[in-house]
């Protein structure tokens, strides 16, 4: 994909040269883990059987880490579409469309730079969770397998939502339309998932929705490996199903993004 490298490096330059977006992007994970960790920590003390509610995690931060990592990926990915719309509005897109580069490289430069930012945020988040008092505790040590699952889950959820929002941005000319869609779905997506809450505390119908919400798949995959360490065979097969579902969805959306952007990006 010619053009991908220079365009991605451009995205990076724009990111680290904007001190506000750089700093907020790096601090945000701290806030999230600290705030969510304290705000919902009471859940763990609800009853004597608290550990079973948070699925056997030693504390709430350990329970919620998978959720926060997923949400970080989700939100950062969603916002990438906006950059494409601003390129269109500010005229730079016109220059890219004249050049002999693949149309898809314009869109994928946004997606890949978002993914790279997400990986940095994830690393900070894990570090923050580890240093917080009563923070992240690995019951059984942290293996390479855990790292693999964690990264795979976050990457796939990020690819899924970065693709969706860039697909929208291929046609849309108003940044506000994209923000509207974003605001419409981000919180519902979050609260109909198991990212923040243990399913046992959910209303019945939400629990059903949560089961089919990709956000839950990612959060639960990470949670399963962090809390349990070595997995039973039924946990293993459940993990396999979640990851496979995420993979299929991510590949389908990335391919769709590729073909639709190659077909034409609105000027």
């Amino acid at each position: 994909m010619s053009g991908l490298l220079p365009l991605t490096s451009r995205e990076f330059k724009k990111w680290y040269r904007n001190p506000i977006s750089l700093v907020t992007g790096l601090i945000q994970p701290f806030f999230w883990i600290a705030l969510f960790g304290s705000a919902f920590a009471g859940l763990a003390d609800l009853s004597g059987a608290s550990n079973s509610i948070i699925e056997g995690a030693p504390n709430y931060i350990t329970f919620i880490l998978g959720g926060v990592l997923t949400i970080t990926g989700l939100f950062t990915a969603m916002f990438t579409g906006v950059n494409l719309i601003f390129d269109r509005r500010l005229g730079t897109l016109g220059r890219f469309l004249i050049a002999p580069i693949k149309r898809s490289s314009i869109v994928f430069s946004k997606i890949f730079s978002a993914i790279a930012r997400i990986i940095i945020q994830v690393a900070i988040l894990i570090g923050a969770a580890l240093v917080l008092p009563d923070g992240l505790r690995f019951a059984h040590g942290f293996t390479l397998f855990d790292v693999g699952v964690l990264i795979a889950a976050v990457l796939m959820i990020s690819f899924i939502f970065a693709s969706i929002f860039n697909l929208i941005a291929i046609r849309i000319t108003q940044p506000n339309s994209l923000f509207g869609i974003l605001n419409l779905i981000n919180l519902p997506l979050l609260f109909t998932s198991t990212a923040m809450f243990p399913p046992d505390l959910m209303a019945g119908w939400i629990r059903t929705v949560a089961k089919y919400n990709p956000v839950s798949w990612s959060a639960d995959s990470i949670r399963t490996v962090i809390i349990n360490g070595s997995l039973t065979s039924s946990q293993m097969s459940q993990l396999g199903i979640w990851l496979l579902a995420l993979f299929v969805l991510a590949v389908a959306l990335v391919l769709l993004t590729y073909f639709l952007s190659e077909k034409g990006i609105r000027e």
């Binding site: 220059r95 004249i98 002999p100």
Partner: protein, 333 residues
């Protein structure tokens, strides 16, 4: 200058949702090395023509060959050998001028060392060396236009499309841009296709010009040829007496002669440069006393008026005053 570099055959564009042909069976031929002007009012089809030739917009009909490649079948190859400077600004404000150049160079797979050299050369050419490493958002309007100009040249194109390169610039900056455009054409061995609705711009820069309106070619030629088609220059003279004014009408080699108010005459001659000495000789021989004399060569403005039936400013809705002026001039002629 005899090699054809762009040729269109009945090139047509109808935008979806519209019945109007933005470009209507356009046939033009552009020669290698020339600065070719496309002149027409806003909405005449200039930008659409350039957009099609630069493969940004797909034609609805007809065909075009650009630097030997078909714009539909070989659009990628066309893109590689052309440079485009669109009407709108396209450089990234958050990058420096130099970074913008290097980024665009890499779109064209220009070797990095060569791109560095080229960028330095181009920045020097338009006097942007000092600002090269500053963010584009700190540039003035004229500086940004200059940067746009050289961004379109970083891939060493055979053909450069300039769409309204001086739109919105002040008079001084405009003539500065003209100088840069001439420099580019001289030093970089590139064919330039220039659109403009400024007549003086086309007149000053282009070797040949095509006037288009409503997507159709009205006339093509060098601006000298086009002016010559108006058949002559005007010499206006005022004399002391009406008798003298009548006498000058006997001057031979006239194309046309009209009264222009009391004691005043409007002569039309083939070539004022050549006829003026004869006119003066005629005046002195007949001992006429001249009080006032002006020579008017036709401008591209007059050419435009002749072919479109309207002044270029009126075509843009430029106001009734200009319309009246043009009508008056036409009546007087």
């Amino acid at each position: 200058m005899t090699e054809t570099i762009i040729k269109t055959e009945n090139l047509t564009k109808t935008y979806s949702g519209s019945n109007v042909k933005a470009v209507d069976n356009l046939n033009i031929e552009i020669m290698k090395g020339e600065i070719y002007g496309l002149l027409g009012p806003n909405g005449a089809g200039k930008t659409t023509t350039i957009s099609m030739l630069s493969t940004r917009v797909a034609p609805s009909g007809g065909k075009a060959i650009v630097a030997g490649y078909d714009i539909i079948k070989d659009s990628l190859k066309v893109r590689k050998v052309i440079g485009v400077v669109p009407q709108d600004l396209t450089t990234d404000e958050d990058l420096s001028g130099y970074e913008n150049l290097m980024m665009v160079a890499s779109f064209y797979d220009v070797n990095k060392n060569k791109a560095k050299e080229k960028a330095a050369q181009l920045l020097r050419l338009v006097d942007l060396e000092e600002a090269a490493n500053k963010h584009v958002k700190t540039y003035s309007g004229g500086m940004r236009k200059r940067l746009e100009l050289i961004v379109g040249l970083i891939n060493e194109p055979e053909i450069l499309f300039l769409d309204e390169p001086t739109l919105g610039l002040d008079v001084q900056t405009r003539s500065q841009m003209w100088k840069y455009i001439r420099d580019i054409q001289e030093k970089l061995d590139v064919t330039i296709i220039l659109t403009s609705h400024y007549l003086d711009e086309i007149d000053a820069l282009s070797s040949r010009v095509t006037i288009i309106d409503h997507g159709k070619v009205l006339v093509t030629g060098t601006s000298e040829e086009l002016k010559a088609k108006l058949k002559g220059d005007i010499i206006m003279m005022t004399f002391k007496t009406q008798e003298e004014a009548e006498k000058i009408k006997e001057f031979p080699n006239l194309v046309d002669v009209k009264d222009n108010g009391p004691k005043s005459v409007r002569l039309k001659v083939q070539d004022s440069d050549r006829e003026l000495p004869n006119v003066i000789e005629f005046i002195s021989k007949n001992q006429l006393s001249l009080t006032r004399m002006t020579v008017q060569k036709p401008s591209l403005d007059d050419v435009f008026l002749e072919y479109t039936g309207k002044g270029i400013r009126d075509a843009e809705g430029g106001g009734e005053f200009r319309q009246t002026m043009f009508n008056m001039r036409r009546l007087r002629r």
